[in-house]
């Protein structure tokens, strides 16, 4: 194919997008929603696994003592913990220190905590070998005066379950919306094809190959896909920044910044957009060329 043909086919594809602009806008809207939902599910999942990694990396276990334990007693319990084989370090934090730390991190929410301190004395225990966590936790739990050993497994499992739930429902929603967008894109292209059936019949009569007839409509689908990808990337960035900064203002947490994933997100959106446009285009053209598109004299 020469450059003239390529230019011709691309410009025809671009014209097609504007020919039925209302349908193009509808296709773009549905595809944008689809991409944003997929992107959100992916970003959510990435943040969850980031959180899981952070928890895993901190091989420190919080040990909460009974509420009525006095400071002196607490220090003795600390000695017992230190004596355990897998314990590397054991840092004491009194009730008051715990409240102060939370106040520092979370601010005004804890202003009211004056009259009665709800936190117990706490030890932060660093382990030699995190893989032996269950055994060590069990040993600590058995020391008298220990109320609870913060069980990372629980949090781990809860987060993993939540991540799975979001992923599965996300996949389901994306499949449904994906099918809807394919349907709308192919209908849009079908409409363009219908409005250009006259030109198509002339093209066929003078010997244009099926691919030459097809390409402008595929280009139309791809342009719709690319526009949707750009719009959804921008919207996703905007929404992500707002939501993250809101959640962060409530509970500070280590999150993934959008800029660190913007390129892969954008590229996968572009790839998905192109894929959708391409498939949508091929579906409608295939049907059209098989049926009425083959007619020249009697269209």
């Amino acid at each position: 194919m020469n450059i003239s043909s390529l230019k011709y086919l691309l410009s025809e594809g671009l014209k097609n997008v504007f020919k039925n602009w209302m349908m193009s806008v509808a296709s773009i809207c549905v595809l944008v929603i689809c991409l944003i939902l997929t992107g959100s599910a992916a970003l959510f999942s990435m943040n969850i696994s980031n959180a899981l990694n952070t928890i895993e990396a901190q091989n420190s276990v919080a040990v909460f003592l009974n509420e009525d334990i006095e400071t002196l007693e607490a220090l003795q319990i600390g000695e017992q913990i230190k004596g355990l084989p897998n314990v590397l370090n054991c840092e004491f934090r009194s009730k008051e220190e715990v409240v102060e730390k939370f106040k520092d991190e979370l601010g005004s929410i804890f202003d009211g905590v004056k009259s009665r301190n709800p936190f117990p004395h706490t030890f932060y225990v660093t382990l030699n070998d995190i893989s032996k966590y269950p055994e060590t936790a069990e040993q600590i739990q058995q020391i008298e005066g220990v109320e609870k050993v913060a069980n990372h497994r629980d949090l781990f499992e809860k987060l993993t379950r939540f991540d799975k739930l979001i992923s599965i429902s996300g996949i389901f929603i994306v499949i449904v919306l994906g099918l809807i967008s394919l349907f709308i894109i192919s209908s849009t292209i079908k409409l363009t094809m219908y409005s250009r059936r006259f030109e198509i019949s002339i093209m066929k009569s003078v010997g244009a190959t099926d691919w030459f007839v097809r390409i402008p409509f595929i280009v139309e689908g791809i342009i719709i896909g690319i526009i949707s990808a750009v719009i959804s990337s921008l919207i996703l960035k905007f929404l992500y920044d707002i939501i993250i900064s809101y959640i962060n203002s409530l509970i500070p947490f280590s999150h993934i910044s959008f800029s660190s994933v913007s390129l892969p997100v954008f590229l996968s959106f572009i790839a998905a957009g192109i894929g959708f446009g391409l498939i949508g285009g091929l579906i409608s053209i295939g049907k059209y060329l098989k049926k009425e598109g083959g007619e020249i004299l009697g269209w």
Partner: protein, 219 residues
């Protein structure tokens, strides 16, 4: 150039459009196809253009057995023919130049060739000064010339004209057939379907008459 051997066409709804047609059209011939409506003329053209396939029989075009070519080869077969329609089928939003150039562009011609070839062909059909006009600004006869220019621009070896004079006045009709005769003199085979017996008589060319799906006369 065109050969039909025992060609019959029965449509899926049971209509028998052509029945055991045998004919031979030589390269460079000018042939009128006449017959009442529904006689099978359109089917005859559709078979040549490979828009329909015969139910039985063999068709050769330019030595190629077109009844057994693959779907992919059809576009290249069609580049051997130029088609002129009764209703001109010009694209309103394009000017005369682009209407003709369109036929070249969609077969992948370079813009350099388009710029060279289109003015030459428009000169040939007598429309050298109308390049930037829109079809709506032209008379019926002129529009048919544009349609003819479009059919000629890819240098086909055969022109198929489906009632090209059906929508224009008699004087213009004469001019169009005269133009086709000129093109024929340069070696292009012409196949023209028409209802107009008077026109046919004036030119004294070969006339094939089709009625009820059979050739009733060939003179």
């Amino acid at each position: 150039m065109i050969e039909f051997k025992n060609v019959s066409k029965v449509y899926s709804n049971g209509t028998s459009a052509l029945n055991n047609i045998n004919l031979h059209i030589k390269k460079g011939e000018f042939v009128f196809i006449v017959g009442s409506s529904g006689a099978g003329k359109s089917t005859f053209l559709k078979l040549i253009m490979h828009e329909e396939l015969p139910s039985s029989g063999i068709i050769y075009l330019d030595g190629i057995r077109i009844t057994s070519i693959s779907k992919k080869e059809v576009p290249y077969l069609r580049r051997k023919m130029g088609i002129v329609f009764q209703d001109f089928r010009l694209i309103d939003k394009m000017n005369v130049f682009d209407n003709v150039a369109f036929a070249m562009r969609v077969t992948g011609a370079s813009e350099k060739d388009v710029k060279k070839r289109v003015p030459y062909i428009l000169g040939l059909v007598g429309l050298q000064n109308k390049e930037i006009r829109r079809p709506a600004e032209l008379s019926g006869g002129e529009q048919q010339r544009v349609s003819l220019a479009r059919a000629l621009v890819n240098n086909p070896s055969i022109i198929i004209a489906d009632e090209p004079t059906g929508n224009i006045d008699p004087e213009m009709s004469y001019e169009i057939v005269e133009l086709l005769t000129e093109i024929n003199k340069r070696g292009t085979t012409i196949l023209m379907v028409t209802h107009e017996h008077d026109l046919v008589k004036q030119f004294g060319k070969r006339v094939i008459e089709i009625n009820d799906g059979v050739i009733t006369s060939d003179r």
